[in-house]
Structure formats: structure tokens, C-alpha cells
Subunit: 454 residues, 2 copies
């Protein structure tokens, strides 16, 4: 699948000179992002677009083509795909919609495409997809203007999405939140390349350490089981499954032509092969952030807070998630009692209350991490209180040295958002609710347990 991510020669079939059209934006993005490969726009009705010579057909291009991107009306796709096969194009991304997702007629058309590539070497991503993005090679076949969807920076998350919409939104959030990715693949109708191929590919990709997956339906169950089981032992795979209810399944059928299947079956399969399941796209991102932390060696978590109510909500979620919140030992309590004022509550959560200082926060978290009583810490650090200043960021970030996961919950306005950003920049993931921080910690715990706490 490498030619999908670092092609030397690229044909854009359906390149348009009309601004706002998909075939225009894809080409424009290639030019603006200065992709180091050679670009060949294809369109029989135009001679030049954005200063580039336009070819009437892919077959007229005087060079071998590694990757062709097809963005023409559905009816014309069989014709141009056939030309790609004849030209021996290695990889084809079909962006055009109007196939199995629209019903019978589209299904027929998709079958036609299948026949065209059968037994040939040309591999296809899509139809009805966004294609691929590679932060290292700079390949970017998305049809979203760069100013509307800022591309994320380089990082170690590999992201596979069956939905271009879900994919593009998450990429946009990644860039906003300064989360880096390695590669993005949108495969939608999975005419040829499916989710398992993508997982296998990212499983081998050196730049990818975490795999995210938005899935509506699995194409080949056995293949999925085999691949996911193997890869999840090497890298965490986090999945968001669309089409979990009857209505959702119907919608999935008319979105990617997927048979979404029973939610319960999917969930138990995910568990069986060691995949972590998220329930919303926010959770998918939350969990991905958590995996920047070391894996916990057990499920005993300390919650340290300066807000009692948020501590209560975190407890509620920890119980739902099956995390253990042991009380600090008497030894630990003695240490704390010496330093903290009387109104500090030495339970789990440790409630430092609203007159907390940076020093008290540091001591509480550090002693929990140092002790053998806890495998990780969730710090609910509400920055709005009088005595917390910017030095709280370094105080917490420095505690990474204990090699245990630290997740932070903080929520609020300008000041809090600023400090949260600084904390994330320093390697501590921040969540806007106690429930989300707890669920993210549970994802780490569950993955670590699956791997035998290794």
C-alpha cells in the first residue's frame, strides 16, 4: 500500500478549474502543500488548470503513474478506472460517491468496478472516500480546503476511517489540539482495500504507534479477527463503531453500503481481539491522547482533586469502569496529615479543596506515584482557585519521571484553556470532564490488562 502514501507521480482525474468543486480543491491542495511528486491533472474539456498542463485521459500521460485520484461523476468512473488499469496505475483513490450507498443502481455500478480490477494489480481505495494523508511524505488527497481543515502535525497516531466526514472532523480537531498523526486512510465502501488491510499496513508502519479506527461494518470477519488480534498485541487499536442500533444500521447501509451487524456481537469481538472500544468520536480522541502515557501495571488509581463535586463525579465513573480507588495507607495519610490543613480530605479522591496550592498538589500526586499503592493518578486540577498559578504546569509535568500514567481533568474558560494547553504540550493529557479522564484511564488499564500488565 506504500504507493498510496508516497507516490512519485499522481494523476488527478476530474481536476476542475471551478473553485469550490472537489476536483479543484484536491489539485489546489497539492500545489499549495508543495507535494514533492509530479502532478498530472486529467480532464478532457480543459487544457490548463492552475498553471498545469491538463491531459484528456490518464492514458495520455507520458509517464508511469503511481497514484490516480478519481473525482468524476459516478457514471464515468468505470470508464476512467478501466483506463487506469490499462495504464497499470498502482493505486487508485475513488473519491466519487453514488455507488452502493445510494441503493440498487449504485450497487450495480460498484460491481462493475469490481470486475474491472479483478485479477489486476491496480489496488483501489473507496469509492466514496477521502483517500490518504501522510504527514511525513506530505501526501494529502483530501478535498477540504487547507484553511477550512488545518492538517495535523507529524505524530504517532495512525487513523483509519470508513467515514470521510468523521475522519475529516477528527483530523481538524487533532490539528486544533496539536495532536500529531502519522497517516490517515479513508476507505469508505471498501470495494478493494478494507479495514483489515489498513490495520495490517499501519501495524507494520514504523511511524505509527497507536491505531484509531472508525468503522461502520467489517467486510471480512475472519480476516479482521486474524489481523486485529495480531496487531493489537503490538499497538493499541481503538475503534469507534457506527451503526450500533437498528436505525443507525440502516443509515450505515445507505452511507457506505455496510452491513453494520449487531452491536453486542461487535463489542464482544472487539474485546476478544484486544481492541479498545470508544463510544463517541470524542472518546476516540480522548483515548488516543491517553496512550501517550506509560501503561499502568494495575488498576489501582488515585484521584487527586481541588474540587469535591468533580471528585464525586470521577468516583461515579471509576465505579462504572471497574477501576479500583483504594484509600491511601495510614503511612501515606501520616505524610499528608503533617503537611495539609485539617479540611483536606484524605480519602480517594484526595480532596485538597479550593485553597489548594501548587505545592500541595505536587506533594499529593508525587506521594501517590512514589508509593506502591497506586498504578496511576488522575488529577482534577481546577485552575480557577486563587492560589494556583502557571507553575502548576511544570509541577505536574515533572512527575512523569515516575513512569506511571498521569491524566488531568480541567475545564473552564480562557485561563484554564491556556494552562491546559501548556500541560498537554508538556506531555500530560487534559480532559474537560472527570468522566472523560476516568474513561481514558480505564482504556489504558484495559489495554494493559489485555497484554498481561507487561
Amino acid at each position: 500500500m506504500d504507493y498510496f502514501f508516497s507516490p512519485q507521480t499522481i494523476a488527478i482525474i476530474g481536476a476542475s478549474h471551478v473553485k469550490g468543486k472537489i476536483g479543484y480543491t484536491i489539485l489546489e491542495n497539492f500545489i499549495r502543500s508543495k507535494y514533492p511528486g509530479k502532478i498530472f491533472p486529467v480532464n478532457p474539456n480543459v487544457n490548463e488548470i492552475l498553471g498545469l498542463r491538463v491531459y484528456p485521459s490518464v492514458k495520455n500521460i507520458p509517464q508511469d503513474i503511481d497514484l490516480a485520484i478519481i473525482a468524476v461523476p459516478a457514471k464515468i468512473v468505470p470508464k476512467v478506472l478501466k483506463e487506469c488499469v490499462e495504464k497499470k496505475v498502482k493505486g487508485v483513490i475513488i473519491v466519487s460517491g453514488g455507488f452502493s450507498e445510494i441503493g440498487k443502481e449504485g450497487k450495480k455500478l460498484e460491481e462493475k468496478l469490481k470486475k474491472i480490477i479483478k485479477g489486476k494489480k491496480t489496488r483501489v481505495l473507496g469509492p466514496n472516500c477521502l483517500g490518504a494523508l501522510d504527514t511525513s511524505s506530505k501526501l494529502d488527497t483530501l478535498f477540504h480546503p487547507l484553511e477550512k481543515l488545518v492538517r495535523p502535525k507529524e505524530g504517532n497516531i495512525g487513523f483509519i476511517s470508513q467515514s470521510g466526514a468523521v475522519g475529516s472532523v477528527i483530523l481538524d480537531i487533532f490539528s486544533e489540539e496539536q495532536i500529531g498523526i502519522s497517516k490517515f486512510i479513508s476507505y469508505e465502501n471498501a470495494l478493494d482495500i478494507d479495514e483489515s488491510d489498513c490495520i495490517e499496513f499501519l501495524g507494520k508502519d514504523e511511524k505509527t504507534k497507536i491505531i484509531l479506527l472508525f468503522l461502520e461494518g467489517v467486510k471480512d470477519g475472519k480476516k479482521f479477527l486474524r489481523v486485529a488480534k495480531k496487531v493489537s498485541q503490538i499497538k493499541p487499536i481503538i475503534v469507534l463503531k457506527g451503526g450500533k442500533t437498528e436505525k443507525g444500521r440502516k443509515a450505515a447501509l445507505s452511507h457506505t453500503g455496510s452491513l453494520a451487524g449487531s452491536a453486542r456481537i461487535y463489542s464482544s469481538v472487539f474485546k476478544q481481539v484486544g481492541i479498545i472500544e470508544a463510544n463517541t468520536h470524542e472518546e476516540l480522541i480522548d483515548f488516543a491522547k491517553a496512550f501517550s502515557q506509560p501503561l499502568p501495571k494495575g488498576n489501582r488509581i488515585a484521584i487527586v482533586t481541588d474540587g469535591g463535586g468533580f471528585g464525586v463525579l470521577a468516583c461515579d465513573e471509576a465505579e462504572r469502569q471497574g477501576l479500583k480507588l483504594p484509600e491511601p495507607s495510614n503511612k501515606l495519610k501520616k505524610i499528608f496529615r503533617k503537611i495539609f490543613p485539617e479540611h483536606v480530605i484524605l480519602s480517594n479522591p484526595i480532596d485538597l479543596t479550593g485553597d489548594v496550592t501548587t505545592e500541595r498538589f505536587r506533594i499529593a500526586i508525587e506521594e501517590c506515584l512514589k508509593s506502591k499503592e497506586f498504578d496511576g493518578v488522575i488529577t482534577i486540577t481546577l485552575f480557577q482557585v486563587p492560589a494556583l498559578e502557571k507553575d502548576i504546569v511544570d509541577a505536574i509535568a515533572n512527575l512523569k519521571k515516575y513512569g506511571k500514567p498521569i491524566l488531568c481533568c480541567a475545564a473552564g474558560g480562557r485561563f484554564t484553556l491556556e494552562l491546559s494547553k501548556a500541560l498537554e504540550k508538556n506531555g500530560i493529557p487534559v480532559y474537560p470532564s472527570p468522566e472523560r479522564a476516568v474513561k481514558a484511564m480505564a482504556a489504558l488499564v484495559n489495554y494493559s490488562r489485555m497484554k498481561g500488565w507487561k
Copy 2:
């Protein structure tokens, strides 16, 4: 309770000259916010703070006192509260912690306070609370520095919180998201004034149209039932309940000394009295935003989207929430078929796909609102696609004229956040996930159903 919100004379007992101390920040906030009443700092060890004369005791103040704020160590609270009673102070806010929430000793101390006010006219908020905020009178007893917690603007949401932390975070989010409030009350341990008193008060408050409540435990069940039942018929009451699990209940006990009780009992009581329940503080805010919309007259919702995957997730949630997603009638489909390209999916969701234009979005939403087939619209408007520009904001906002609720889902980075803000400013609530938009619509539907769709 009026003297808690627009007192003419205010004593700050425990006013401090040490920056970072709670007793300093409360006083500083009064001065910085230019509260129009008279402020009297009280502290036996200092003569002047921030240019104001300091009195050794509340009894030395040469004027009647409407409101006293107590921020001294727990042990001294009985003494100063007694002085307040003797001085016939009308309202007292006890900010100090160290009472029933810390265990036996604290419980005893709290009993002492109860005895002191028994049979007297002095009313008490707290202890262990933040007090009150009134965006109209400008009263603000919060101990959070103004730059760390920007106060929200004037609006119609009345917000009651048993947790100062949850309260302060939500206020901070409100200001960040430009959501206005009328009044905020933090009552925590509820020594005297409890959640029912607050609900009753906000029920009568003309500036309050929506009541939000964060609750750990109800003090007086019968009173709560009676008050909530009455008020929920006039104004929506949205509650977030902390302490729903065993661990959470234990934490609630050591936070506000509340007996949190069984989650199921609480949920069924809420339903019975017409209270809408949120599951997280994010939902509490989500629901509050939704109530800016007209109430739907039924539960038939149209989902209009330009992203299929998000449409699928919205469907899943709609099924969980019991919302009806009827297919558009043949009549409606005919209208759409004439205008929309073939790959547009005319089901529910209506999937306009990634080459959507503002005009197509407008037509889809408007025809659904105009028809008698739908009671409200959720528009999943992913702004990242090529042909959507800023005019989409006005196009959607103009459709408010049909008097049906419109909720929007949009998520992403800079461009999306900017357009989302503009949309919210124009009266359309925006949610960062399809699930959250659907849940908010369900809150509207459930409240309207409870009121007999009137």
C-alpha cells in the same frame, strides 16, 4: 432570599491582606467589580486592607448589615456566626470548610452552627460554599480571581450548585461560550437554605427562565417533591446528580455530608416531578443551551447532514433516546429530487454529502421545517467541505422563523469554531458531537411531552 443577591451593606469576615488567600480575593473582587453596596472588611488583626477600614468584629460596624460573608477557619465560625445573629445580619454566607464533610468532629461543629441560628431571622448559605453571583446586581461572593474565572454575562439561566467546584467550572465555561446567566447559588452543606429553597426562589425570579441544578443529596425529600413539581411546570429544571454509585456516594458524604441515595430512586423521582436529568456537566450545559429553542410539539425529528458517518452516529443516539426519525414523504422527496444531485441520500438522515452547498443545506432544512412531517431539525453541518462559506450561518439562523427547534452539530478546528460561534450568537446552539446534539433535542422533546406538548 433577596438580601443574598442585592445587599446594600456587606461584611466580609476574615478579609485578609495576604494575596492568594480566599479572604483577600473575595474582598478584591468586590472592589474590582465596583459593587454598588457598602463593603466592611472584618478582621481583628488588621486596620486597613486595600484602602478600606477594617473592623475587629461585625458588631463594631456602625450600620445594619444585609449580608455577611464568613471566610475564617472552621473553629472560629461559631463565634463569628453568633455575632452575626446578635447583629441581626439578614443573610450569612459561610465559605469556610471543615464541617460535616470532614467527619465526626466537623459534624459536631456544624450542629453548633445550627443551634446558633435556630429560631433567629438570620438565614445561612453553606457552610463550605461559594455563595452567590447575580449578573444584574453585580453581587459576586466567589473567591475566584476575575482573570482566572471570567464571570458570565447577563442571561436567563439560574444555576444552583451543591458543589462550588462544579459551579465555578460551569460559570467559567458559560463565560467562555458566551452563555448568560441570571443568578448563581452555591449552597454545599445546606445547614439552613437547601436546594428546594433555591429552586423555589429561582422559580419566582423573573430574570430566570431555565433552572440548572448540581445536586449530591436532597435534604428534605417531601419539600423537594412539592417544590420541584410546581416549578418544573413553569420553567425547565435540569439536574446533574453526583454520587450515583457506591463509591461516588461515599465521596459525596465526605464532600458535602450528603446522603446521596440510590441512583435509580433519584432518577425516577426526577422523572416524576418533571425534572430533566443530565449525566455529565457537559450535558447539563448542552441541555441548557437547547432550551433557547422553541419547544417541539412532537418527537419527529429530521436529521440533515453533509457527513454520512456522523449521520449514522446521530441515528444510533436517536434510537437510544427514543426520538422518531420518519422518512421524508414522497411529496418532500419529489421536491428534493428535483434540486439535489443523485448521490444525495433522501432518507432520514438526509445525507447531502461532501459537495453540499449552502443553498442545498438551506433547502433541506427549510422544507423539513415547513412541512408538517417534522417537529424539529438537527443539522449536522460539517463546515470543512469546499463549498460551505460563512453565509451558511445566516442561512440556518434565518430558519428560526418557523418556530421549531433547530440544533446544530459541528466539530473541528479554527474555521469550524469560528462559524460555530457565529451560529450560536445568532441563536442556534451548536454541539461538538452528533450524540450530544441528539441528547439535547431529546431533552427538549421530553420536557415538552411532560408539559403535554403545550
